[in-house]
């Protein structure tokens, strides 16, 4: 780590030089790539895709119903996020954790769509037992790509890899 000093006028001049290099200083550098790079990003899901994911998660072994499942599109500075509650009749906390783990994994493996931060809760409405991300060992209740990638890997067909 270093202690940074104020940017100097000299630095500003050097930045200008780098800028000229970037812009070609009107040299006529075309810079247009005729072959667009392949799609490398997850896209925002359509309502149909959200419904499809919800139905997929409802089939997880032990899940009785999915009473809540909402997706919020991101804005500038705020990424998308998804909240979901899963009801189960399982009584053992470990069984609820297994369901939660599966729900996170399946969502992350939908590598075509960007669900953003996931706030998933698995509960047994009868006993009142519920588990969330903290029960999987995370120190926060919402987990996103930064936590999902190291836990579950890149997914079966994802192209969104850290450089």
């Amino acid at each position: 780590m270093t202690h940074r000093r104020r940017r100097s006028g000299l630095t500003a001049c050097l930045m200008l030089v780098s800028l000229c290099t970037l812009t070609g200083c009107g040299s006529g550098d075309r810079g247009r790539d005729p072959s667009p790079s392949p799609a490398t990003h997850r896209h925002d899901p359509s309502q149909a895709e959200i419904n499809s994911l919800r139905e997929q998660l409802a089939t997880i072994d032990g899940v009785q119903s999915v009473p809540e499942f909402d997706y919020q599109k991101g804005t500038f500075g705020n990424g998308p996020s998804t909240g979901g509650t899963f009801n189960s009749t399982a009584t053992a906390k470990q069984d609820l954790i297994t369901i939660l783990d599966t729900a996170y994994r399946l969502t992350w493996y939908r590598t075509d769509i960007a669900m953003g931060d996931l706030i998933y809760v698995v509960q047994n409405p009868t006993t009142g037992t519920e588990v969330g991300a903290a029960d999987l060992g995370f120190d926060t209740v919402s987990i996103g790509p930064r936590q999902l990638l190291p836990r579950y890997g890149p997914g079966p067909t994802t192209s969104a890899k850290p450089s």
Partner: protein, 487 residues
């Protein structure tokens, strides 16, 4: 490749703190020198003592030896007088050095600002020229498809330009008053007069502007003439558990990263803030207020005060419905005078935090001791020295540069910079553009690095925040819905 390297400015290891240390050392040397001078007077008085002079008759050799030793101890080359003079000289050198360093710093800062102010328009003109050449080339070749691609490519180039040269934003902001003047002149003498009369008739605006705040105030005043950027009054409603959003669990602030996580989760319930009551083991209480970033970007002011109108008003140095709503929520939460409060926010949330901490009326009512921001342009807010500030700014994020200057370098204000290139954002994409660099999840990632940092300046600042994260473990939270009530 994501970088885990952090650049730290300000704080205990900052330049300002080092200057303070030099001044303190100079003062210490002067104090010792004064003490030595006083001792010299005592020895001189002893040498002139009547008994000693009388004893010289009986023991002239001994008296001479005493007198010689006394003289050596006072006015000799290693005597008190010389030592005191050397210390005074050292103290003076230190003070002069501090003055020289500070003058040099100020000169460099002025040169940087001037360089950016000149460079930014040149850079933008360069970009325009490049796109113009492209358009001309396409026209010459009859490439209409290429011409249609031009707006997208121009936007892409602008993004690349800003990502590689984020200082351009500083320059544009510095130039904003001049831009307003130019617009005024372009409107002609009559137009200039009309603009001036119109703008100056509105509250918080002055035309022609003399500062960035004035220029922003003018923009609001112009907008008001077209029905945008309207103001209203603040409304606050505490939300019970039944009104919470689905899966509305929340990260309890236990660290800088979980606090930023909590700020991010506020995005799931538009227009809300959260106030955490953190009981301490000694029976006292501390409070954490989490404030979200901009949620609505329409210039037309709506009922959600977390919007563009609030952004502009904050940057113009005005108090907002969001500020008033937070004050009302703090009253409802029971925040008492003297109980330490930490305000934490991302983007607009951080600006709001700084605005509240700098507002004398707010400070008279609440004891805001800590401000924690991510991606917020807060350098222009006069936050008092006794408030501990921790600001995170990503190098390629244009938003924290919208104040057009660096954060103050002072012992209680630590700014941490990071190049976030390659960090995964919430969409699972590695950061490659300025919008991604502003993503609050990427700020959480940087906050996690700060939580683990062993940099002494960071550790000392982090320690001051720690009581808000520990407490007795019985932290409680209330969510408040803030609204703008339009007339």
């Amino acid at each position: 490749m994501a970088s885990d390297s952090l650049d730290v400015s300000g704080g205990a290891g900052g330049v300002s703190a080092q200057y303070d240390d030099m001044i303190s050392t100079a003062a210490g040397l002067e104090q010792i020198a004064n003490g030595l001078t006083e001792r010299q007077s005592v020895i001189e008085a002893m040498l002139r003592n009547g008994d000693l002079l009388e004893s010289a008759v009986l023991a002239p050799v001994t008296a001479a030896q005493v007198t010689a030793q006394g003289a050596a101890a006072t006015i000799g080359p290693n005597g008190l007088l010389v030592a005191a003079a050397r210390m005074q000289a050292s103290a003076l050198t230190l003070r002069v050095s501090v003055d020289a360093y500070q003058s040099l710093d100020e000169a460099l800062a002025r040169a940087t600002t001037a360089g950016q102010a000149v460079g930014a328009p040149l850079a933008l003109l360069g970009l325009l020229g490049r796109e113009g050449l492209r358009a001309g080339d396409d026209l010459w070749n009859g490439d209409l498809a290429g011409l249609r691609q031009l707006p997208g490519l121009a936007a892409e180039d602008a993004g690349k330009l800003l990502y590689a040269n984020p200082w351009i934003v500083d320059g544009v902001i510095t130039d904003s008053p001049a831009l307003m003047w130019t617009l005024g002149f372009a409107a002609g003498p009559v137009g200039f007069g009309v603009l001036s009369a119109w703008t100056n008739s509105t509250e918080h605006a002055a035309f022609p502007p003399t500062s960035v705040e004035d220029a922003t105030g003018d923009l609001i005043a112009f907008g008001a003439g077209f029905g945008v950027f309207k103001t209203g009054s603040a409304g606050v409603t505490p939300l019970g558990p039944a009104q919470a959003a689905p899966s509305a669990r929340m990260a309890v602030p236990t660290s800088l990263s979980t606090t930023m996580d909590g700020v991010r989760e506020l995005g799931r319930q538009k227009g809300t803030i959260r106030i955490f009551d953190v009981p301490q083991t000694d029976g006292t209480r501390r409070w954490v207020v989490e404030i979200p970033g901009t949620q609505e970007w329409s210039p037309t002011a709506g009922t959600n005060p977390v919007d563009l109108t609030t952004n502009l008003r904050l940057m113009a140095g005005q108090q907002t419905e969001q500020n008033e709503g937070i004050r009302q929520a703090m009253r409802l939460a029971g925040v008492a005078p003297g109980e330490p409060v930490m305000l934490a926010g991302h983007s607009q949330g951080g600006i709001t935090a700084a605005s509240l901490a700098a507002d004398p009326a707010t400070r008279a009512e609440f004891d805001i001791t800590h401000v924690y921001t991510g991606g917020s342009p807060i350098a222009r807010f006069p936050i008092p020295d006794d408030v501990n500030v921790l600001s995170i700014e990503h190098d390629q994020d244009a938003v924290p540069r919208l104040d057009g200057r660096d954060n103050p370098d002072r012992p209680g204000w630590v700014t941490i910079h990071r190049d976030p290139t390659g960090v995964l954002n919430q969409r699972g994409e590695p950061v490659t553009n300025t919008a991604q660099a502003h993503d609050n999840s990427v700020y959480s990632d940087t906050a996690a690095l700060i939580d683990r940092s062993t940099d002494l300046t960071v550790m000392r600042q982090r320690e001051t925040f720690q009581p808000f994260f520990s407490g007795t473990g019985d932290t409680t939270v209330t969510t408040y819905q803030l609204t703008r009530e339009l007339p």
